[in-house]
Every structure is written in C-alpha cells, then in structure tokens.
Symmetry: C2
C-alpha cells in the first residue's frame, strides 16, 4: 500500500454535527449527515461516494461521535466497503463533540504516523455539492498548492448576501491554472449582518467559508502545535495511550476535558499560510429549513409540496409530510415538517430559531429531540407505531434474504403478526415458517431470530410488552453484520 | 301527559350539518355537532341540556341524518334519557340531508298530529350560547309572541361587521317587556360584503340570523303549505305512509326527491308574520376555525395554544394538537389542526376554504374526510392506531363496570394485549380473566365479549388481521345498550 500512487492522499470526513436546526427530522441520534435531501443517498453517503472518485476507501476516515457509529456503519455499507480495504480503525469515534479543531487534530495525528508526508482533504459530511466534476477538478488542483506547504481552504463564490455563513477575503493571487485560481487569504470574517453581507457580495473579494480544507498533515499539525498547544498536547497524549493499547476510559476522559474550538477560529485565522481557492460548485450547507427549500425543486409559486399534500394558494412554502394527509391553505414563507411524533410549523425567515426549540427539548431529555421513530438497519428497517406504559408497537421490514440477529430480551415479551411476505423464525429449538396473517408469541427470555427467506419484502407488526422496553434490552448470540 | 302544563311545548333540535369547514376534526361521520369546543360536552349535548331546563326530555326531538344516529344516541346517553321519557321516535332520522325546510316540516307534521295547538322551538345543534340564563328568559318571552300566531326568529345583536352570517332587519316594535323587545321583521338579507356589513352594524337596525325559531306548529305548517307546497305535499305523503306502518324504503325515496331548501329562504323571507327578538346571549355559530379561535381563551398575543405545544413568537394563531409534539415558530393568523391521520395548516382569513378541501376529499371518498380515527361508545372508546393491507391496530378503552357486546366476526381474527387494568373475557364457552401484559387470541368466528370488572380503566391493544376489516363485520348476540 505504501507504494500505491495515491497512498499519500487521505480523506477525512467530519461527521460530528447534530443538525439541531433541521429538527424534527434530525434528532440527537439521527443527525443531519444521516438525512437524505430529495435523493436516495444520505448527505454522508453522497460525501463519501463523491470523494471515493479521488481517494480509495482504505484512505478515507470518518470522524464521528461514538453514539452515531452503528448508523454510520450501516449507511456506509461498511461490510461491503471493508472488502475494498476500509478498516474499522478508519471510523474514528469521538467520545463527545469538541468542534472541528480536536477532531481534525485526532485524525491528523493518526495520518502522520501512517505517512508523515501525507496530504489530507477535510470534508464536512453534511453539505450538498451539486457540481461534482468541477469540485473534483478543484480538489486535484488544490493538491498542487497544498504540496507547497499552504493550508488550502475552499471559498464558495457567493450568489446572495448570506448572513448565515462565515466569509474569507481573498488577497494576493499566488497561482493560476486555466480558470482555477489560488489566493492568499486576507482574513476570516464572522457571519455578517445584512448590510455587510451585501457589501461583501458586491465587492467580489469575499467567499463563503465552506469548511473544506486541503493540507499536508504535518503542516496542519505544526499550526495546531503553535496556535492550539493544549489541543496538540492532548492529542499527542491520546496518541501515546493508543500506541500502548486499550486505554479507552482514560482517552475518553482526556478528550472530554478539551475546550470545544473550531479549526477556523483556533488556527486558520492566525496563520499566514492560508490559501483560498474560489469554488463555483453549487454548494449549500443546508443548515436550516430555508436552505432546504433553496435546493429543492419548486413550483411556479416557489413552493416545494411533498407529493400527496394539498396546496391551496401557498407561496414560498415547504410542506414535508410523510405521515398523514396534509392540507395547507394560504401559507406564505412557512415550513411544515411533519414526522411520526413531532410537528414543526415555522416562519421560514425565523428558521434559525428551530435550534433553540431543539436545545430546549434536549435539555428536558424529550424523546422527540433524541430518538427518531424509525431506523434503517443492515437487514431492513423498523419504525415505532405507538408507545405507551408497558407496551410498544413496531413495524419491522426485513429485506429479501436478510436476517436479524439471534437474540433474546431480559425484560420484554414479543408478539409478531406477519402482515406481508413470508417469515422464517428460529424460536429456541424450533424452526417455524409463517405466512401473512399468522402470528407467534415470543415469551421473555426466549432465544429467537427473524429471517426473510423469500424474494419479496417481509413486513411484521411487533407488539412488545414488559416493564422495560429500551432498545438496549437485547442479547445478541449471532449476527451476520458483526454486531454481537 | 296531555294534561302536563308543558305538554304543548316542544323542542326540535336540528342535527343535520356536517361541519365541513371544521375539517380535519369534523368528518362526514363525525359532524360538527358531535364536537366539544373546550368543554366536556359536545355542542349537541350542550344544546339538549340547555333546552331541557325549559322542556322535558319526552318533548325534545332531534332531527338528524340516519348515519349519525348511533353517535347521537351515545352522546345523548339515550338509555338514561329514555327513563325520563325520551322515546326512540323522538330521534327523527332523515335518509339524507335536504336543508332545514324539509327537516322542520317533518318534525312539525309529527308534532301537529300529537298536539295541533303545540308550540315548537327550533334549535341548531351546533352553535355556542354562553349566556344561557338570558337565552332561556328570551325563549320564555318568545312563547308569548308565538302564541299570537307570529313566526319568531332570534336576531343576534351584532358585535362586529361579520360577513359570514345572514342578517334580519327590524321593523315596527310590536311588544316589549322590561328589556325584552319584539319587532316585526323588515326583511332577510344574505351574507353581505365587508362594506355592507359595516353599514348594517353601524345602523343598529340589523341582527344576525341565528336559526333559532319559535312558532305554533300549525302556523309554520300553514306557511310551508303556502310557500313550499311541494315540501308540504311530500311531508304529508310521508306522514300518511308512516301511519300505515313500515314503509321505510318508500319514505326514503320520496324524501330524497325533495329539493334542498332552507326554511329562511323558502318560507320566512316571504311571510309577513315574522317577528325578530333581539338577543345578546354571547352566541357564536363556530362555523370555521377563525370563529373557534374567537371563543377560546387567548394569551396576550391572541393565541390559543393547546397545552404541551411549543410557541415561539406566534400571534393570533390557533394550535390544536393532541397527537404529537408540536412546535410553532413565528406564525401570524395561522390555524394548525393536527389529528391522527390528517393535518391542516390554514391562514385564518381564508378559513372558509377548508370547506373546498373537505368537499374535494369527499368526492374522492378519502377516508380522511369520512371517518374519524376514534369513536366514543356507550362502554368507552376506541381509536385506530395503524392500518395496513390486511391488518388494523386499535386501542380500546373500557370504562369501569362496562361491557362490549357479545359478538363474533366473519372475516377477521383478533389478538388482544391488556395494557392497563383487568379484563374479563368471554370466549366461546370460557370465562377468562387477564391482567396487564397478558394476551389472548380470538380466532375468526369465535364468540367473544370484553368487560371491565374493575374500578379502573381497562385499556387493551387489539390487532385485527383478515381480508376484510370494516366496522360492519360484527354479529352482535347480546348487548346491554340495545344494539343487537
């Protein structure tokens, strides 16, 4: 591998965000990068697939919060990618979010040990890039600049006086190739007010800070050492502990003690080696519902109305509703986002306030902010239909040929009704086949496994009863997806 | 009974509306009069309870559509009221709605046969009257006027230039008692535009047409005979058929052939014997969501926000949500009405357009316009949690000491899980007692009955499976509420 032509080139995908402003679709346990925006792929999937055109899977790391690791593995089809060389070590899990500087430092230290001459491309996992070829061309170009020791940032050429982004001002032109240019950065600027944003736009000197970076690993570590010595010290300590073997508890504690800080504020703003490469790649950070409306296809009145919803005279409105029949009458600049257990109706110019609602709910530990009511699994998906004191009702869909793990529960009994397809059920010593409308009872403690032996979808309704119904009441004996 | 002091006085409650403008709470099978507005009682219950202070139950008729009859019986606690003299014949069911003139004619013909000197008070079943004592005082006063042969209407003293109501203009003062006055009517006027409504209001000469009428039965029949000879002829024919015994099919057909027409337009507008009695009784026809907001208690910003919903800076908005956590941000003049299977978000000044949405849905036979997802029963209530191809999941609550009917189903099996309380279950020859978390399977065709022998609520989850899951697949063998 060390001899491969691309072995010096690494991708680091940052998947640590929570997307609080896209509540109620995003949740603490289902952050923005796991979402799909009018696309079969999630933002994370799209980010990884995109970068794989330049970097092989074995050189791409994902830095994420450890609580999102199972979902990330599922979304990456990890078992498939592992056959192409992706290793479990490439899923770098933070014990807690400490913003981008510690996350980047953690990844950089690992890459440096692997190859001190490596170049790393840092990519947010939850942005949309619609002009992929242009983007890849610019990335290749940026390598030529990074090789010279510069810390390269991608500056998005602004199309409107946006107040929700940070800006980078361009300085001296230092390189040019066809229509690709590289400028020294003449400063980083925080989110401006409307007036200032308009000045930035009109001047043609400013770009949106995309959070996409390209640099030699040793150059960013050098900058972190100078400008964020605490972060550098902590990460070095963690690196030493990792080399000594399993010291997870200690590593977690050390990491938690770090102050959260972004790489931009902590490092880049202070360096004189920053280069900005202007990028016109149809980029959107889809950070709030108004941004989502921007990227969705709209009708003549500026609306995106989910199929099946009724629209009577709405304008510039977003109606996202999968759960029930929705009728919207006379709305202007309103987002309606309906999920199984939570409903948001928001005046779009105030879309940033969704974050406050989310944070308030999180503080109260409201499940509506924490858990999604449905989840994709390697074998299919489940969704919660109803919950009450002592019972929970789920719909479970098993894809053809797939199996859940062989499992048992300590606190709950389950009753299954086959509503579609054909089920193969291991129940203690027995193997049972059930068809549509047939039922089975799985008493507390019974060892069981559900499989779909057919060519079609298997759908069952599961009724759980018991005094504790948490997802963690599961003992896995066998699992074909490596989850035991 | 004929000698009772009040045997000449009858109440006729018109419960034929569908309340299409209060969708999605109202449905074709759950019309407006069955709704409760911030009150334990439904509008119908409140109307009947109110009039019972003047008229005994055995003299109160309800004219309703036959498809609403079971719900009306449940809401009226019919079995309790029947002990106070209410007879089944007092629930007059129309085979279909033909507006108020035929409904009033039908009731009047019956009352005339019972007592040709009777006085009838006609009351819409779906209006709110907050000043009940004043209203009853005015009703008593109106009897003195009606006795003289006048057709008395209640004219609501307007408090705003309302464009959603018809108006009555007052003419010559013909009687007065303390602050109660009776005027000859100087004309009926259709819903005005904003400008005209303001003129009406400023003039002090106009009142809202409340649809509350008081008259001698023979006087209204005489008027119907003159101004609506077709209606009179049809109703006479029906009356004759009824006297001849069971001719239901024939009666239905005859009734269906009537042209729909209101008593106001068909009769009152043409008569010179109309009297209007001004009424200040805090009346509201709550005909649309904006009217509902008018009568609900509001916060300092003019909002009614259902408990549990999150409000960030809303104004003059109505948030009615029982089903899921709802967050509203920055809404102005918006109604959000959330139900299990349908969601409405409506700009309040356009609240009348809800009727169009409802009618469109009804035309497509959408269940969201037809059936409510929950229903009150004499024994408790049920609600549908989830439906799919071949299965239906219900939550059933049985009140202490109550029983469902002894029943069987031809097309479905049922599986019950007790989630609260204690259940007594008859299953063919067996009597079984189940506690929380226990389950039972009721195969297709099995004869069963569910009872709550305890002092607390019994709650079960029922999973139906089968190829037909309509509410009408039920054979009742015994029923303590007379539904066999």
């Amino acid at each position: 591998m060390a001899n491969s032509s691309k072995s010096y080139l690494f991708g680091v995908v940052l998947a640590g965000g929570n997307g609080s402003r896209l509540w109620p679709v995003s949740r603490e346990l289902f952050p923005k990068h796991l979402l799909s925006i009018n696309d079969a792929q999630s933002l994370l999937q799209a980010t990884v697939t995109r970068i794989e055109k330049l970097i092989p899977p074995r050189n791409i790391s994902i830095v994420t919060n450890q609580k999102h690791l199972p979902d990330i593995k599922t979304q990456l089809n990890f078992f498939e990618r592992s056959q192409k060389g992706m290793a479990l070590e490439q899923l770098i899990s933070e014990p807690c979010g400490r913003n981008t500087a510690p996350a980047i430092a953690l990844a950089a230290m690992r890459l440096y040990l692997e190859n001190p001459e490596s170049i790393m491309i840092v990519l947010p996992s939850d942005h949309l890039i619609q002009e992929e070829e242009k983007f890849l061309e610019l990335l290749k170009y940026s390598l030529q600049i990074a090789v010279k020791g510069y810390l390269v940032t991608f500056g998005i050429v602004p199309s409107s006086p946006e107040t929700g982004y940070g800006y980078i001002k361009k300085g001296e032109l230092i390189a040019q190739q066809a229509n690709k240019k590289a400028y020294l950065a003449d400063g980083f600027f925080e989110k401006p007010n409307q007036e200032l944003a308009k000045e930035y736009l009109d001047s043609g000197q400013y770009f949106w800070n995309s959070g996409i970076f390209v640099w030699k690993t040793k150059e960013i570590l050098r900058a972190i050492k100078i400008f964020l010595p605490d972060v550098f010290g902590t990460i070095s300590e963690i690196s030493t502990l990792e080399l000594q073997g399993d010291k997870n508890a200690q590593i977690e504690e050390i990491y938690q003690n770090l102050e959260p800080i972004s790489i931009d504020k902590g490092c880049l703003e202070k360096s004189d080696k920053i280069v900005v490469i202007p990028a016109q790649i149809n980029w959107n950070d889809i950070g709030s519902w108004d941004k989502i409306l921007q990227v969705l296809p709209k009708d003549g009145k500026g609306n995106f109305i989910k199929e099946g919803a009724i629209n009577v005279g709405c304008e510039n409105s977003l109606i996202l509703s999968n759960e029930r029949l929705t009728a919207a009458i006379g709305l202007k600049d309103i987002a309606v986002v309906d999920t199984k257990d939570a409903l948001l109706i928001c005046h779009l110019p105030e879309a940033q306030k969704v974050r406050n609602v989310f944070n308030d709910l999180l503080e109260k530990q409201a499940t509506e902010a924490i858990e999604p009511k449905s989840s994709i699994r390697p074998w299919g998906q489940w969704s919660i239909i109803e919950e009450g004191l002592g019972y929970k009702i789920k719909k479970i869909i098993v894809n053809p040929g797939q199996s859940l793990s062989l499992q048992a529960h300590k606190h709950r009994s389950e009753y299954w009704i086959i509503t579609q397809g054909r089920a193969e059920i291991e129940k203690d010593e027995d193997l049972i086949f059930l068809n549509k409308n047939q039922t089975i009872f799985l008493p507390l403690g019974c060892c069981h496994r559900l499989s779909n032996p057919g060519q079609d979808i298997l759908e069952i309704i599961e009724i759980q009863t018991g005094d504790y119904l948490g997802e963690d009441d599961i003992v896995r004996f066998q699992d074909r997806y490596g989850r035991t």
